[in-house]
Symmetry: C2
DNA sequence: CGCAGTCTTTAGAGTTCTTCCAGATTGTTG
DNA sequence: CAACAATCTGGAAGAACTCTAAAGACTGCG
């Protein structure tokens, strides 16, 4: 009853949890990012959404916030195209489909993909992360619209 | 005996093979790229090398050439960092180590890495390529210098 | 060989994405 | 609520890349 009336509560806790001051801008952006299903956004996209949602925020702040959230482990950066960064709200270990035609990025569901027999890291280094991008191109038939992005 | 005295012959054939006019610039860049072992370079890097090698060529031409070689299948583009493109002279199917500290990109040798149980592509699409990046960070001990890049 | 005619190259301007800056604003703490 | 620090902002700056229009270099044909 109470929580239902306080939509900010969840994201607020999230910001406090990582020691980021809960400003109007950060709260608003966090709601856009974390309320609803997993998302993959660029800074420009998120900025556009923020303006549409009547959240006055500058592009510089969107960049700052995305980077801070990423450092704090709330987001994960995914690089698939030169000169563009995507931010993924799903920080668990998983991989991606990238639709080259449209620039859409999607999680590969479940554990449908396994990397077998990882090579050992060269001397003096250790593996920090393994990224797999499955690049897709549009086929003859039109794709169905997905729920999330 | 003869071929040993004509170092340009191999790259010349290569350019002719893909229908690119063998200009001084393209020949020079092709030699830097394809004579010697497999390489991973950025446009700026290659431009620097060209100048050091007394090959007068503009940065715009380096970009043009790298893109043309890629379209022709002589190179493969690899994206690992936001806002930077690497070009790989090894066009066969393989994956990469990326050393986050230094920005070095290296091939993962042999078939030491296998992607198991690829998910099926979403309706209306088909898989064009699968990229695997194993991201490394430097450990305590210093890494040994590699032969190629 | 020589000269169209076409393809390439080039310097510099332009684009896009992102970060930096310095001053104004906001959140927090006592 | 004052004071201090953290944050936000628009605009300038930067990095990587592409575009443009004019000059230069190959190639094929005569």
């Amino acid at each position: 009853m109470m929580t239902a009336n306080r939509p900010y509560k969840l994201v607020l806790d999230r910001l406090n949890g990582v020691g980021l001051r809960p400003t109007r801008q950060r709260l608003g952006l966090a709601r856009l990012l974390f309320e609803g299903c997993d998302r993959h956004v660029t800074a420009e996209q998120l900025h556009g959404e923020a303006l549409s949602a009547d959240l006055r925020v500058s592009l510089a702040t969107v960049y700052n916030t995305l980077n801070q959230f990423t450092e704090a482990g709330l987001l994960r950066e995914v690089v698939v195209e030169a000169g563009k960064s995507y931010f993924d709200t799903n920080t668990s270990e998983h991989h991606h489909f990238f639709l080259e035609n449209t620039g859409r990025l999607e999680d590969i569901p479940g554990d449908h993909l396994v990397v077998q027999s990882l090579p050992k890291a060269p001397v003096g280094t250790r593996i920090a992360r393994v990224d797999v991008i499955v690049r897709l191109v549009e086929d003859a038939s039109p794709a169905t619209a997905p729920f999330c992005d």
